[in-house]
């Protein structure tokens, strides 16, 4: 299964290695890891829409596969309570061509950020608050309509 939504942490090196194991054509592997930032944040709780999340992520991966020549894609998104420095999300893309791997990896992150049903509740000393969506994420998404 190329898409997972889970509470457990993941092993980045093992996931990257697994994606290329047994495929000698994958000369390029691009990956992204998103982490909980510190600062004022003491903890973060990730809520999601269970029936929709894996479906939404699988749809984004399918879109990426339609745009670039990809050999393998792996997406893992954590839910539940996380602490500063904890890993939140992993996207790994393997391809024969490095530009395809980079572009698809960033495309998947941009779509995930705006289309996959996850919500962050941040906990600080002053209390809890839901994270606001950022206009910069919508702007990032629009880039993919214009060009690669």
């Amino acid at each position: 299964m190329s898409v997972s939504v889970q509470e457990a942490d993941f092993d980045v090196g093992a996931e990257i290695a697994a994606l290329t194991a047994g495929n000698d054509n994958a000369g390029a592997v691009a990956s992204f890891v998103g982490l909980v930032r510190g600062g004022e944040i003491e903890a973060m709780t990730l809520e999601h829409y269970p029936a929709m999340t894996e479906k939404a992520l699988a749809g984004i991966v399918a879109d990426a596969r339609g745009r670039w020549e990809l050999l393998g894609v792996r997406v893992i998104h954590r839910v539940g309570r996380l602490l500063p420095g904890d890993r939140i999300v992993l996207v790994v893309v393997s391809s024969t061509h490095r530009h395809d791997a980079f572009a698809a990896c960033e495309f998947i992150m941009d779509y995930l950020k705006t289309q996959a049903p996850f919500w962050k509740l941040e906990q600080t000393a002053a209390g809890s608050h839901w994270v606001d969506a950022r206009e910069s994420d919508d702007a990032a998404l629009r880039r993919w309509s214009d060009a690669q």
Binding site: L46, Y49, K113, T114, Q115, P117, F118, K120, W130
Partner: protein
């Protein structure tokens, strides 16, 4: 047959509900009409009408407020997503 309606994140908290089953009255055939039907109950439900950038999904696919809704569907209302 009813329609399942779900609320998530800040909207779930503001409404004090994670979801409900609704029997669609005649004339309520889109996500927008369903939103207005629920919002018409008054507080706290009227927040559905005021929510900035409210999003919705029908059967786990994001759609606009002109999307068709019928009995048996699962409709979700939620704020803009913030994962990743």
């Amino acid at each position: 047959m009813t329609t399942k309606v779900l609320y998530f994140a800040s909207l779930r908290e503001a409404l004090g509900s994670s979801g409900e089953e609704i029997s669609l009255p005649a004339g309520v055939a889109t996500t927008g009409a369903l939103r207005d039907l629920i919002a018409a109950r008054g507080e706290p439900w009227s927040q559905l009408a005021r929510a900035k950038n409210l999003r919705c999904a029908v059967n786990q696919a994001m759609v606009g407020f002109d999307a068709a809704v019928q009995a048996g569907d699962e409709v979700a209302f939620f704020p803009p997503v913030t994962g990743g």
